[in-house]
Symmetry: C2
Subunit: 360 residues, 2 copies
């Protein structure tokens, strides 16, 4: 029973090789790559599995983008500039081979967008679900690489890079668990229709719900679920200002709990300061349970803590506000995460996040 | 739908953290690791999939070892000292959770054996097959890292690190496609029985075929299939002597063809010089098709080319012969691989190796 790694990678080498220009990548034609590292490298690996991290009917292009971006998100959360990636593609025998081209186009397009090189990889066939494992490398932008464990009592707690809950809500819309009218309640329908008409042709078909006209808000929410909109510009903030830092992927509350536990501190988060999208707020204020937004996951934004003395610098650095910078709370002595309302009253969170279990 | 990466890795963090002592590994409690690289790093990634690279009833301990060793083999083939690894474990929901402990014990035991650190990883659940993806890092022992493309006309062709065909034959024995009596023909049964008695208790139960008494030859063949016996000492030979070099994983002929193609040369290989195990030779000389041995794969030895001027140095460097160093042929102008018998006559190889196809 031979390894089927090397030959299968040759199947897609032709698709990927034009994007493997780094000398160390050896045009993907060798068994290993060489990284010429002149200093510290940040390295991370994350896999996505069909049926777990994406659905079988998600577009293959966004699956490719998600596989890379969840790793880029980890690099950003550590204040590193994305540099290179390895790709392992476990392809189901039942999935059409022609989708590999679309996967490769999307993956290499995203690599180019982030200025990254493909160093190499592996492929195999499976009778199980499509599985994409990526290892990503980045160069730290700062002198230190902040960990989860570096929060200090008195720090501000910040989010940067996007909205909380949008991806979760987009997934609910796509799966039909949340109906379109639930995010439409109370909005200006004429303005929404005009916006949709102006955007017609620019929104991919897979973002239009069956039996519905184009809805730009729904399209935005679903697109953040399908392929998170990660912002490498945030890495500079992390490198310059962060004590502790991590990306938010498993739900804001669950990830804040991890940061608090690793740092040996408590995080007090003001619910009203959390950045939600307009449709998510509308949904939460008209009957939706906002706690789902802060526990749903797939946000891929950065959670960091920084000295309050740097508050002015941090706000000035964001400038026009394109990075959705939000100061959402503070680090206190103690443990755990407390979510509070405008009056400072605790908001109970029955299920702080995804509970995981391996095997039976 | 949240990512389930971080929390699940916490499930096994307790099992792996004692083995993640490198400062950059951050005790596996962070989203990324930091590698302090002072120079070039060799990096490789290989995944193994249940039903493709290993069988569902293979022991979970050898699955863990194979996952690491196929990557270590790539590093050795590039002349690099194994240094560190990332582990991505995609665990079937249907597989008992208690096997995770055995997996972790075997994986960390092998890491320690090779002097490697675990830098981090990812885990997820799947409804599909167990899938283990490893990324491994090594430090080049030489000034250059030989690629497949560096063979020169006139070079000797060498194998080092083990036998060809033993893993294939072991898999055939385990699956029942080859019967035990086929490797026993003509051997000294009294000596074999005495050896088996002397080894009793040292051979794991899973290496004893159903309904058979312990057979040390069969156990050896099966063990090389279950977890390849890779030899980091070979990396020094590659670093010191190799022009072109790669590990042999997909079958000797198929991998030699890749090296020939990448280098733009032909490889002439003498069948009688190929290192087979004693039972594999006995099987081939008593009715087995020896061409299966050179195309079967899973050998995980090193194929390299070197100047004939260094022949004496290379042979002297091996010393007592523990690394199974074999000079098997030479590099010629032309293309492809020619396998020849003792008289120099070509031996046709109908199927040079595993044919791969992704998707339907």
């Amino acid at each position: 029973m031979p390894s089927d790694s090397a030959d299968e990678f040759e199947v897609i080498r032709a698709l990927f090789a034009p994007h493997a220009r780094a000398a160390g990548a050896r045009a993907l034609a060798d068994d290993a790559a060489v990284i010429e590292a002149g200093g510290p490298l940040v390295v991370t690996t994350d896999a996505i599995v069909e049926g777990v991290h994406f659905m079988p009917d998600d577009p293959i292009a966004t699956v490719a983008m998600k596989a890379l971006r969840v790793n880029v998100s980890d690099l950003i959360g550590k204040g590193a500039q994305p540099g290179a990636a390895l790709l392992t593609l476990i392809w189901p025998r039942s999935r059409p081979a022609r989708e590999i081209q679309a996967f490769a186009d999307a993956f290499t397009g995203d690599l180019a967008f982030f200025g990254m090189n493909l160093l190499g990889g592996d492929t195999a066939s499976t009778d199980g679900p499509l599985t994409v494992s990526v290892t990503a490398f980045g160069a730290p932008l700062g002198e230190r690489t902040p960990s989860r464990a570096d929060a200090q009592v008195g720090d501000d707690v910040w989010l940067i890079g996007g909205e909380i809950g949008s991806a979760w809500l987009g997934h609910q819309l796509r799966s039909g668990a949340v109906k379109l009218e639930e995010i439409r309640r109370g909005r200006d329908e004429a303005a929404a229709r005009a916006e949709a008409e102006a955007m017609a042709g620019q929104i991919p078909d897979y973002l239009i719900l069956p039996g519905e006209q184009l809805d730009t808000e729904a399209a935005w929410l679903m697109s953040t679920y399908l392929a998170p909109f990660v912002r490498p510009e945030c890495a500079a903030f992390v490198a310059r200002f962060a004590h502790a830092s991590m990306d938010v992927s498993d739900g804001l509350v669950a990830d804040a709990m991890k940061l608090a536990a690793a740092s040996g501190v408590a995080l007090r988060i003001e619910a009203s300061a959390i950045p939600f999208s307009i449709p998510a707020e509308r949904w939460a204020f008209s009957g939706g349970d906002f706690r789902k937004l802060v526990t749903g996951g797939d946000d891929y934004v950065v959670l960091f803590t920084a000295s309050p003395e740097r508050r002015g610098e941090i706000e000035a650095a964001e400038g026009a506000g394109a990075l959705r910078l939000s100061r959402i709370g503070r680090v206190e002595a103690g443990q755990g995460v407390e979510l509070v309302d405008r009056q400072g009253h605790p908001i109970p969170i029955p299920d702080p996040g995804f509970v995981h279990k391996l095997g039976r």
